[in-house]
Symmetry: C2
Subunit: 425 residues, 2 copies
């Protein structure tokens, strides 16, 4: 796990003026990676670094010789650290490269983004213990948390092909559902469409089949973090998920924020990770001193909603929730990587691990409508008087994330938005 | 669904003499695709067509201009049918191309094979109703078949990165397991390592996100079939699988046969697909006339085992089981494709769908040791006196498949073998 270094210095400022504004998601201490091209150009996507409200064309700086993000992700920790130091130096106020690099900078408003890398395999975990407990209590009031939860970082494989980037629009899924009192299932559009507030962890260097990554080494295999919306059709899920887990209830769309905030950028925002007293301690293969001291991620997470009628009325999105990943996750990224590979499973650069829904301990910090509305029994009332049990056609759901701490410059994860279109006619 | 045509003519013979021998897996009526290179050469893999005991270099024939199997898979049904007709004509006895093509043929014994295409996403289904019922009865004697089974083609996402080709050797996985009477789980090598006998279905042309493939059109999206061994660690599975399904118990290795037998080659071996009387009929999105008449696959499936001591003693593998996919599967490939996409999920050329374990109705036709040994309670005794409850280190498990029918030439799927190595020290 990297510790803060010169690239995190709060005094650092950039010659890109917008990066120095208070509240900016992308100050020079951040330097996240994404893939962009001039909007509407149809050109191949390039690797860019967000700086203020601009994007730096990374290849044009001469620091890398590829447009392939997965190649960048496969570099060693030392190479990645050196690259970050060089980008930071070039973008810093007073840099001798400012004149040359200024030609490699373009406004974010003039570009379009795509999924930040080729995702070979996507795994979704279930690290949100408050989410697991609340959802469990809706289905199993007597035993909300299953016996394996505090021992096993529960995870399952997701669908890579339907992952999209912020701005994704998708049709309300159709499928089989069955009412509890019905004799047979019926087919139609999902009536309980939900979002899930997650972090996405991208894998850097991988491992060979049969060669696990030890938990103490796992952080070196973490490239960075995005926001992830794991859209979920709760009614389809309830009928299909036994015994092999969720399938069509999830794989119609998953949406990511476009910028990968690197693990190194997050160094000032790592926090102690302690199990509540009385909980089982992790088995040795999931335990490492660094993990306990600095394993947690101190990231503020918010969800916002804009309905179609709000959009038509020119009303801004309304915030539904506000919480922190640190209080929500029962397992750290290092533990997820160690667990995923302990059986010999091979990870590859660009693989994506979802955190699972990150609901805080308080009901108002829930990361899904299933929890916020108690399975639809207590609909939310929005400021304009509209009510929501689940998502309706035309709704745009936005996740935002950022890190704030005394003595460090605020850095942002940006946002991921997605919009529900009507089911196929 | 294609119907038999001139390429299936039982009278057809090839100028590759070995293709005309009785019992051959790869007569001219088969023409399966795989990726090969000269053994030990380190060259890029090329597309080959198996013919007798030889491989035809497809690009060298001039019929295609790519070495990329996924490009071939993305062709339209008419293009694929035309390609098959041209390969058949060129390999037929008396072909004017015989002299030129003879230079593009190499012995299978001189090549190495790899996974037949780039697999973007891998989905494993659960179509074996006898398997589902037997396994269910081991865990839930009162309700062996869950209420959704006869309505929903149950499936879940698998891991693409750890898929290998016949000959794959993998370490026994380690992981968490928990004895029923233990207070806490323990960590170590799996003691209940198993195989699963499956067919693999490869996707041809895909669909756009949000645009389902109708069941009546689905066969046109089926490129072909392989044998698939879904290695499974039963003790890890039992402890981890609630509530999101199998994960580390499956993703350490999955092994495929190297040759994709095309859907068209299987045309003479399609069979009526009827639900047992009294079973629910499929919902309309899963129902199509052609599916009922010719949806099933009449493929004989066998499992063979060679232990380390058998290998040392020069003893051939012993056959464990012999069954037929037609009697094992409750859903057809067309139904799997229609179901997978009905929510808008996008399939891509090269995606792999596993059938799930294809156990026949009789106990001796089971497709896993879990079933054959009743969860280890009734170990098998092998001819050499060894006993097996589950797989032991050094065991090689082989799946074989072939089609035989009066009036048609026998075609084979070849075989997939895999060997268990000791757990990591």
């Amino acid at each position: 796990m990297t510790t803060p270094n010169a690239t995190h210095d709060p005094q650092l400022r950039s010659w890109v003026a917008s990066a120095n504004q208070a509240g900016c998601d992308f100050p020079i201490q951040n330097l996240p990676f994404g893939r962009y091209r001039p909007a509407g150009s149809g050109e191949p996507f390039r690797i860019g670094v967000a700086i203020g409200d601009q994007v730096l064309d990374l290849k044009a700086t001469g620091l890398v010789h590829t447009d392939d993000m997965n190649v960048l992700m496969s570099k060693s920790p030392a190479e990645r650290q050196a690259l970050r130091a060089a980008i930071s130096a070039g973008l810093a106020e007073g840099s001798g490269q400012a004149a040359a690099w200024a030609k490699a900078v373009v406004a974010q408003s003039a570009v379009e983004m795509t999924v930040p890398c080729r995702i070979g395999d996507y795994t979704d975990f279930y690290t949100g213990i408050h989410h697991a407990r609340t959802v469990g209590s809706l289905f199993r009031p007597d035993a909300p948390l299953l016996p394996n939860y505090q021992w096993v970082p529960i995870g399952y494989h997701g669908r890579a092909s339907s992952i999209g980037v912020s701005g994704q629009r998708f049709r309300r899924p159709q499928g089989q559902t069955k009412a509890a009192d019905a004799a047979a299932p019926s087919f139609g559009p999902s009536k309980r469409l939900d979002y899930e507030l997650e972090l996405g962890f991208f894998v850097a260097q991988g491992n060979a089949l049969g060669e696990p990554i030890a938990v103490a080494e796992a952080e070196a295999h973490l490239f960075g973090v995005t926001l992830l919306n794991d859209w979920s059709a709760r009614d389809i899920q309830a009928w299909e998920y036994q015994p092999l887990g969720p399938f069509l209830s999830k794989n119609f769309a998953t949406t990511l924020s476009p910028w990968i905030v690197t693990a190194e950028a997050l160094a000032p925002f790592r926090a102690p990770f302690e199990r509540p007293a009385g909980d089982p301690q992790p088995l040795p293969y999931l335990d490492a001193p660094g993990n306990r001291e600095r394993g947690a991620l101190d990231i503020v997470l918010e969800t916002w909603l804009q309905t179609a009628s709000m959009r038509e009325a020119g009303e801004a999105p309304v915030r539904l929730t506000h919480g922190n990943a640190r209080e929500a996750a029962y397992w750290t990224p290092a533990q997820l990587i160690a667990h995923h590979t302990v059986n010999g499973c091979n990870l590859q650069p660009g693989d994506l691990l979802g955190s699972g829904t990150l609901s805080g301990p308080k009901p108002a910090e829930a990361g899904s409508l299933l929890e916020l509305t108690l399975s639809g029994k207590q609909p939310l009332t929005l400021p304009n008087g509209e009510r929501r049990s689940f998502l309706e056609d035309g709704d745009t759901l936005i996740l935002r994330g950022y890190c704030e701490r005394e003595g460090a410059v605020r850095i942002g994860l940006g946002e991921v938005s997605g919009t529900v279109e009507p089911a196929r006619g």
